[in-house]
């Protein structure tokens, strides 16, 4: 399939002397469904933050033939890069439909903006269907169940028509059935878009990942298919070797930084 490739070279992010991302190189091909894994504090979320313009970084990040570093967040978003957050961030006091409509509208002119919505735009209707939220479209987003909020967020990325989706722990806190549904959804989406997922859930990763990058202490430790990564002894040492569950140990200031 065609599309832009995400190319990261020598990416480095520091906070007051602490280096969260320390020289990461990453190539994500169009149509990939890439999982980023690693223990807490490995720099996964910070990496996504840097790519989407939320934090300052050095090195280079290219999407297709365009440089991303130094651009403001909303410009990067308009280039077709969208993301979700660890805690689902939807507009609680707007309806599902309004949420999706806003996500669809970044390119609208002032005249359209100043008028009420007359009917449901085509992409919004499609996204409602894809995420299975059609029957909930007039509900306030704040009253949705946790899983539904996550889907709404993904739906917002779909109507936003992004080429690259960066999802931060999309199945955290979901039931088994919801995970299955989400996984299927991601596979469906990645048919014509590139998807990057940060995840702690190893079972989920094994079921759906096409490729995996393991981050540790701000660096890429290993990269490849699920089988290749699982076979890597270094990965077993720092991460998989100890447990197949997310590392529950609360870490120091680094964990704090992850919260944002």
């Amino acid at each position: 399939m065609s599309g832009e490739q995400l190319t990261v070279r020598g990416l480095r992010v520091t906070f007051d002397g602490f280096t969260a991302v320390d020289g990461v190189d990453l190539d994500i091909h169009p149509g990939d469904l890439r999982f980023l894994i690693g223990p807490n504090g490995a720099g996964k979320t910070t990496l996504v933050d840097a790519v989407t313009g939320l934090v300052k970084a050095t090195g280079s990040v290219r999407f297709g033939d365009q440089d991303l570093l130094g651009r403001p967040v909303h410009k990067i978003a308009r280039m077709g890069i969208g993301r979700t957050f660890q805690t689902a961030t939807v507009f609680d006091r707007l309806t599902v439909l309004q949420n999706l409509d806003i996500a669809a509208g970044a390119g609208r002119g002032p005249w359209t903006m100043l008028r009420p919505r007359k009917n449901i735009p085509e992409p919004v209707a499609k996204a409602l269907e894809t995420t299975g939220l059609t029957h909930l479209r007039d509900r306030l987003a704040g009253t949705l169940a946790h899983g539904q909020k996550q889907w709404l967020e993904i739906g917002m990325l779909l109507v936003q028509d992004v080429r690259l989706l960066l999802l931060d722990e999309p199945v955290a806190g979901m039931s088994h059935d919801e995970r299955e549904a989400t996984g299927t959804l991601l596979q469906h989406i990645s048919a014509d878009r590139t998807v990057v997922v940060i995840e702690h859930d190893m079972d989920f990763m094994r079921s759906y990942a096409r490729s995996v990058s393991v981050l540790h202490a701000g660096k890429v430790l290993s990269e490849g298919t699920v089988a290749e990564v699982q076979a890597d002894t270094r990965v077993q040492e720092v991460y998989l070797g100890r447990t197949t569950q997310p590392d529950p140990a609360p870490a120091t200031a680094v964990a704090v930084a992850e919260e944002a």
């Binding site: 906070f15 007051d16 934090v55 300052k56 609360p250 704090v256 919260e259």
Partner: protein, 295 residues
């Protein structure tokens, strides 16, 4: 040359007053992020404390010294009470806190009017503080200003020591930097908030004592200073004591230099506009704590 030196000294004394009234805010606004508009009324409470003490203790010097700790406790208690009654319910809504505490400030002003009467009152300064020190060459520094300068610097020193060296200070800083983490580490964050507020408001009380040496005491004594005080903290950088110290003196000197070359009104307008412009350029203030949550 004499003019420049004299104006610099005037600027330093304006700065000392600014610093003293802003010091409490570096805690409650700077550290805790609470916009407490009733802070001015804690200053007023400190000033009235001095007035009441002077009526019962006839010696001006003694009553002034006694007023310092008592005003600290009185204003601090008011602050802690306000925190407990209202502010702790509003930590997630800083802007609403502004309006709520403005309401409190209106009520406290009226209360002062009902207790002490609408007319301003004044205290007698001890003789020691009414003269001036001649530095030679026509340069003088008023004793009351010297006292305020000393008081301001002492307060800064004390506050720094408390924050840096005591267990209480460590707890305050821990709560400021990461409330959740502090909580799971076993710090009673609610209690720390109240103590922080107590100290911040108490410092306003001390500022109130100092203001009795400068001007009249009235129900609106505090309000007149409140915006200036917030500006000092904002320009200095939220949560940065050294920023506030530098800003207070810088603004004082800027004000006094402009006053000399223009008029008081124009100087005030220029200073305010300069602050607005400065914050466009550096919205985070002079000094800043860089954390990811602020990005």
């Amino acid at each position: 040359m004499t003019v420049v030196l004299n104006q610099s000294l005037t600027g330093i004394s304006i700065g000392a007053v600014l610093l003293l009234i802003a010091l409490g805010l570096t805690l409650t606004f700077g550290q805790m992020g609470v916009i407490n508009m009733a802070h001015g009324e804690f200053i007023m409470a400190g000033a009235y404390t001095t007035y009441v003490l002077q009526k019962s203790i006839s010696s001006a010097g003694l009553s002034l010294l006694a007023a310092l700790p008592i005003a600290f406790l009185a204003a601090g208690a008011m602050g802690a009470l306000l925190e407990w009654l209202l502010i702790r319910r509003l930590y997630t809504r800083p802007l609403d806190t502004l309006l709520v505490t403005w309401g409190v400030s209106l009520m406290l002003q009226q209360l002062a009017r009902d207790i002490f009467g609408a007319p301003n009152v004044q205290t007698t300064a001890p003789d020691l503080l009414t003269g001036n020190i001649a530095l030679g060459g026509g340069i003088t520094f008023a004793n009351n200003r010297l006292f305020i300068l000393g008081l301001a610097l002492l307060s800064v020193l004390a506050l720094t020591l408390v924050l840096k060296l005591t267990p209480l200070g460590r707890r305050i800083r821990a709560v400021v930097q990461n409330r959740d983490l502090a909580e799971v580490s076993g710090i009673a964050t609610g209690q720390v908030d109240r103590i922080t507020f107590f100290i911040g408001s108490g410092l306003a009380g001390i500022a109130g004592v100092a203001l009795t040496l400068v001007g009249p005491i009235g129900p609106t004594t505090g309000t007149n200073y409140i915006v200036d005080a917030f500006l000092v903290v904002v320009v200095g950088g939220i949560g940065q004591l050294k920023g506030s110290v530098i800003t207070a003196f810088a603004l004082g000197i800027l004000q006094s230099v402009l006053e000399y070359s223009t008029t008081l009104s124009v100087a005030k307008v220029i200073v305010l506009v300069a602050i607005v412009a400065f914050l466009q350029w550096r919205p985070q203030g002079l000094y800043t704590l860089r954390t990811r949550s602020l990005a």
